[in-house]
Structure formats: structure tokens, C-alpha cells
Symmetry: C2
Subunit: 100 residues, 2 copies
Amino acid sequence: MHLISYDIQNDSLRTKIAKTLIRYGMYRVQYSVFMGELSPRPLHAIEKALNAYALHPQWTTEDAMMLLPLHQYSEDHIVFLGKEPDYWDEISGKMHTLFL
Amino acid sequence: MHLISYDIQNDSLRTKIAKTLIRYGMYRVQYSVFMGELSPRPLHAIEKALNAYALHPQWTTEDAMMLLPLHQYSEDHIVFLGKEPDYWDEISGKMHTLFL
């Protein structure tokens, strides 16, 4: 399971990156935060795509992305306040099948 | 070490919550993502404050917060693309002292 979050200034580039993350199996849990289980192949594809986006003409020096691999510990202790992410059962169900 | 992220519609409420997180030792690593080591007392204070914010008149049904306790595994494998968070050495230095 990975958490990927970003600060991307340009609307068009941000939309492209979001679509890429979702295409490879991530779920949007907050506006700029995505989670999902990534097996090695889609993880590698995402890393490759993100490295390419960081060289995109619309990428600014203020732009940032964080890729954070999560441990089962995090899933077991996650807390939501307010609106829970769409598809959370599906996301967390997938997390249970993950071995680190 | 905790990661806290939010989607908060109201600017004033969002600013209040950000200030609360920082006051209790969290660092802003992205616009809506905070990380920091929280010992039990400030963690409890943050949880209490956030539960109160979720009852605030400016809180909307679309608003969401996520509290995610992190394992050392996450720190060991974190990747940044683009701009690295301010104070990252300090944040990650603190992480090394954390036992889960």
C-alpha cells in the first residue's frame, strides 16, 4: 500500500498526474492525497511517469510529490474525521492482502 | 510519527486547524499534509482539538481529516520528487528516535 500526495501549481498538469495515479490503481482519498496497493509493475510505471512529469514544461520549482510506502500498522490505526473517502472499504480490503 | 492530511473548505477554519497542528509539533510537508512525531500528550491534544473542529459551524459535510500513524518502514522508503519539505532533516531526524 502506498500513499502519494502532491502540490502541483498547474491545473492541467495536476489533472494529468491524478489521472495517471488512478489509471495505475490508486484511489483519491483527499483532494491531493491518493492511496492504493501497488504491485511492483504499476509502482514502477508510476515512478517512471512521475519522474517524467517532474521534467514537464508545466512543472514549477514549487511543485512537489511524496511517495510513501505504508506498513500494515498504518492501516490498523488510521482515523478519519468527517467525510470518509469513497471506496474506503475497497481500498482497505485490498490493504489486508498486502504483505510487507 | 504521524501524517495528518485534510480537505477543509472554509479558509478561516483551515487556517485554524493548520495552526493547531503546528502548535502541537507537526510540520507542514505539503499544502494539506503535515508530518511530525507526536508523543501521547500532544497526540491526545490534537485528537481532542480536531474532534472539536469537526463540530465547528464552519465545518462542512464535505470536510475530511485523516490521521495516519506511520511505521519506521515508511520513513526508510519515503521518496520526494521536486521540492523537498522545509525542515525535512529535522522532521526525519526526529523520526529516527521513534519506537513503535
